[in-house]
């Protein structure tokens, strides 16, 4: 027999001002199953909670209803109190008589009546509460980090330094990502590679980190704490155990006309190559799509002949390895639009209209021009350079409404670098707004404008066309007496929009994480869970979630690492027991589930699995659904979906919800 305690809170005046709390408490005491009822000034205060604890003990209460504020406010508080008093915390329900009653209605009998109704409803619910216990899930303390850019590197190092195993997967032949392509970094203008390469080496040498370059995640199954991942190690065609990275192979490779990704297509590389001098690992792979041996079957083979260690092996095949991990950090990075995306700027047909990454390479000491800024078409040093911020970004017509965030800063940097290298050159920047929020960011931009006299023009550029050797940049100066301007430039740099990787969608589908309409991965909550995804155990780091600069990326990477380390802090993790369950009973019924599996489709978390129920002899008797408590987030869509109520949701069970409805509508009594 239920013995329910009802505790009505005045919340100072907040409730008692419009609700006759004494009356509510008095009438509540008459409700069936209610053994004790009281009102008090501040239930959430220490004395208030003590009052509850004592009452539970004294009156041997089996459950309590706290008539106070919203459960979203204090449910936790009062459940703790209940637990302290020795009853299962899930026998505590809150009747929201403040937000939903006293605050929104005037002082009146109706308001008091409503408060009582709400209390009565929750009394009915609590009578049907069941003891719930936190769910424990075992955890494999190894993390998978996808992507070897600065985000992946940072996350991997943090997790590894906390003493956990890390598997780092990078799809290109070297880690380093876009950051390794950058020349200098804002707002300090320190050399990107100088700060990055030590980290890369650290990763390579870290005892807790297993590095797989030239590899991609094939598929992911399992759930938080227990992911099962297949990784494809693409055929390198080079036996790394033998290779010393001497480089004679790529020096001799005859196919030399392959656009160099690292230099943003502004130079060429060979078919067997290491992406850049500081690559980690610093050993070459064969790009089979462009290697004569593979394209013109068996022709060439120079590298094999030249290699002193006999490390070249054309027969190596892709290999799939299987790993078990407890958490996954997604750090797959971003891409940018290229000049061919802009019809108004000539569909990229002009070689001297380049994007930001290409400029980085031009300005980089390790770049194709050795750090001298020369234009691609004829290698001349440009006398006038025009920079266009917001090329594509914040432009509905281009389908990119968002701000790419980093462009304002790197455009200022680019202009600065150009001016530093060519004091007499002219630099113009067309911009919409300057978004330089960030530590010493605005100072940086001001410096470009004031000290390096970069000419900032507030306006857009409608078109660029070539006229006797010059690029005519036609735009508008919206400030002062707004007028159209045309600038004759030698080089134009488009700060093109930051976009999600081409394969972002397929990656998201492999990981079962959601993504926004621009294919950036979606965080679990825009404010309070900016690092987690909707799939428990998978976190996000860096620009795969949204455009970010380096400090932000590193911060988020460390945050993702922290989340992972928290998950690894115990040998098993505990989860809220508000999850769905499919009933099971003794033979010969086993379960009322008919195994139609129509519920599988509606689960956003792939939490509903197939269970084969067999007899002792091992004969298959029936198939039935089973909810994986590790994956279930407790939305209950499957419950409402199930025709014969074989699935139920703990904490919001059919019995509970129905009795709430009934309780609500039963006529009150005096």
């Amino acid at each position: 027999m239920a013995r329910i305690g009802v505790f009505i809170c005045h919340c100072g005046e907040n409730i008692s001002a419009t609700v006759d709390v004494e009356k509510v408490a008095r009438l509540a005491s008459k409700l069936s199953g209610v053994a004790f009822s009281v009102d008090y000034k501040y239930m959430c205060s220490d004395p208030g909670q003590t009052l509850i604890v004592d009452a539970i003990r004294k009156h041997k209460l089996t459950g309590i209803v706290v008539g106070a504020c919203s459960p979203r406010m204090h449910e936790g508080t009062f459940r703790k109190a209940a637990e302290k008093a020795g009853i299962n915390p899930y026998f505590c329900e809150m009747a929201n008589i403040r937000e939903h009653c006293s605050w929104v209605h005037p002082k009146s009998d109706e308001t008091t009546q409503k408060a009582l109704d709400i209390v009565r409803t929750m009394v009915e619910k609590v009578k049907n509460d069941t003891a719930l216990f936190p769910i424990k899930v075992p955890v494999t303390k190894t993390a998978l980090v996808i992507g070897g850019g600065i985000a992946g590197i940072q996350a991997a190092l943090d997790i590894a330094n906390a003493g956990h195993q890390v598997i780092l997967v990078e799809k290109t032949p070297s880690i380093g990502g876009h950051m390794s392509q950058l020349s200098e970094t804002f707002p300090t203008l320190d050399c990107s590679q100088c700060i990055l390469t030590p980290r890369m080496v650290e990763v390579a040498q870290h005892p807790n980190i297993t590095l797989h370059t030239f590899a991609e995640v094939e598929n992911v199954t399992g759930f938080i704490g227990n992911f099962d991942v297949n990784i494809r190690l693409k055929a390198k065609s080079v036996d790394f155990s033998k290779c010393t990275g001497c480089g004679s192979c790529w020096q001799k490779c005859p196919s030399k006309k392959i656009p160099d990704e690292f230099n943003a297509g502004m130079s060429f590389r060979t078919a067997i190559y290491t992406p850049f001098p500081q690559a980690v690992p610093n050993k070459p792979v064969i790009d089979r799509a462009n290697c004569t041996w593979f394209t013109k079957d068996g022709k060439c083979g120079v590298c094999a002949k030249i290699c002193p260690m006999g490390a070249i092996d054309y027969t190596i095949q892709d290999e799939i390895i299987n790993v078990k991990v407890g958490a996954i950090v997604t750090a797959t990075g971003f891409d940018i639009k290229h000049s061919d995306f802009f019809p108004e700027y000539g569909y990229g047909k002009h070689p001297d209209i380049i994007d930001g990454l290409q400029f980085e390479r031009l300005a980089s000491a390790s770049g194709p021009t050795g750090g001298e800024i020369r234009r691609p078409s004829d290698g001349k040093v440009p006398e006038t350079v025009v920079f266009l911020a917001c090329a594509g970004s914040r432009d509905k017509a281009k389908g990119i409404e968002y701000c790419s965030k980093i462009c304002c800063m790197y455009t200022a940097k680019h202009a600065m670098l150009y001016k530093h290298k060519n004091h007499h050159g002219k630099a113009y920047v067309f911009y919409m707004d300057i978004r330089s929020a960030g530590k010493s960011y605005d100072e940086f931009v001001r410096r470009a404008i004031e000290e390096d006299d970069v000419n900032y023009i507030r306006g857009r550029v409608s078109k660029i066309y070539e006229k006797n050797g010059k690029l005519m940049v036609v735009g508008v100066d919206t400030l002062l007496n707004a007028k159209p301007v045309t600038i004759e430039a030698d080089l134009v740099v488009l700060a093109t929009a930051v976009v999600a990787n081409e394969d972002a969608e397929s990656v998201a589908q492999k990981l079962h994480i959601s993504y926004d309409k621009h294919k950036f991965f979606a965080e679990a909550h825009p404010k309070l869970k900016p690092v987690e995804t909707n799939t428990a155990g998978i976190t996000l780091a860096g620009a795969c979630q949204s455009a970010k600069d380096i400090p932000e990326t590193v911060a988020q990477a460390s945050a993702a690492a922290a989340k992972t380390i928290i998950l690894f802090s115990g040998s098993e993790l505990t989860r809220e027991p508000v999850v769905a369950t499919v009933n099971r009973s003794a033979a010969p019924v086993y379960t009322t589930c008919t195994g139609c599996f129509l519920c599988q489709e509606v689960c956003p978390y792939q939490a509903i699995e197939r269970e084969e129920i067999r007899d002792r002899a091992g004969n298959l008797l029936m198939n039935a659904a089973r909810v994986n408590a590790g994956l279930c987030q407790g939305c209950g869509t499957c419950v409402a979906m199930c025709r014969n109520k074989s699935i139920d949701l703990q904490g919001f069970s059919n019995q509970q919800m129905l009795s709430e409805v009934m309780g609500l509508l039963n006529e009150p009594f005096e």
Binding site: V589, T592, T594, G595, C596, F597, L598, C599, E601, V602, L620, N623, M641, R643, N644, K645, S646, N654, Q655, L658, S659
Partner: protein
């Protein structure tokens, strides 16, 4: 007819099937379901216009399931229900062979799910004219008239659950009507409870019912309950597309969605 009998005999003979569910005539020459286990009995088989029963409903019965290799004499409606059942992961333990007679009056034997799917899609039935007529009539009525109609009809319901028993899609071992914790459906047969039951039944069958019409035909009180699901199916097909009992892949309208689904009824 002879052809059918011979084929049945042959299948039973060569062990393709251990049990044949079909029709034979009872004393008063009415076609009734029969279960044939030996080739010898095959000559009692009949298959004609008044073989209306949807025999697929028997496939849920344990004693039938035990035969494992089963032949089914079926009209298109029945075949549709088998298709739907397969798409809902039922009948997994059975090996089925289907005997039917096509429009040209020739015997057709289907021995695989794929063949079944092909045949059903090629001979897909449309809504029975008499049903369509009723639906149109009801839809033309005013809200109050419809309410009066169903009130009147459902007050006749005695909750015998024949409509449930005869429905191949109602294969739940325990039905919500039998749930008593909580008690979802009033056990007594008063009209409000009947309304409750038939609403639930229609909701559970909406987008799954294959419109064989058995529930309506069987109802001792003569309530046209089959119209509820028929109407629902039409609306669902219109709103979300997809036919019931059409393919092995299924495609249940109520466990899927499109972000752009109709929501003009939502404030």
């Amino acid at each position: 007819m002879k052809e059918l009998q011979n084929k049945a005999a042959e299948l039973l003979e060569n062990g393709t099937i251990n049990l044949l569910i079909g029709f034979c005539e009872d004393g008063s020459k009415r076609a009734v379901p029969c279960f044939i286990e030996t080739a010898a009995e095959a000559n009692t088989l009949v298959f004609n216009q008044d073989c209306k029963n949807n025999l697929s409903v028997y496939l849920h019965k344990k004693e039938v399931k035990d035969a494992v290799k089963i032949g089914l004499v079926a009209n298109v409606a029945t075949l549709r229900s088998v298709l739907q059942l397969l798409s809902e992961n039922q009948l997994w333990s059975l090996t089925l062979t289907y005997l039917t007679v096509n429009g040209a009056g020739e015997l057709v034997v289907l021995s695989s799910a794929e063949e079944l799917e092909g045949y059903v899609q090629a001979n897909f039935p449309t809504c029975r004219p008499e049903d369509q007529e009723m639906l149109d009539k009801l839809n033309a009525m005013s809200r109050e008239e419809r309410w009066a109609f169903w009130k009147d009809q459902l007050s006749e319901c005695v909750k015998c659950y024949a409509c449930r028993a005869v429905c191949p899609m109602c294969y739940c071992t325990v039905c919500t009507t039998e749930c008593n914790q909580p008690q979802w459906i009033k056990t007594s047969a008063e009209t409000s409870g009947n309304f409750e039951y038939h609403t639930m039944r229609a909701m559970h069958l909406a987008g799954r019912c294959i419109n064989c019409g058995e529930c309506g035909r069987i109802c001792p009180a003569g309530i046209p309950v089959h119209l509820l699901t028929a109407q629902m199916n039409q609306e669902i097909e219109q709103e979300f597309g997809g036919k019931t009992g059409w393919s092995l892949k299924g495609g249940y309208a109520l466990n899927s969605f499109k972000p752009g689904d109709k929501e003009n009824f939502i404030k």
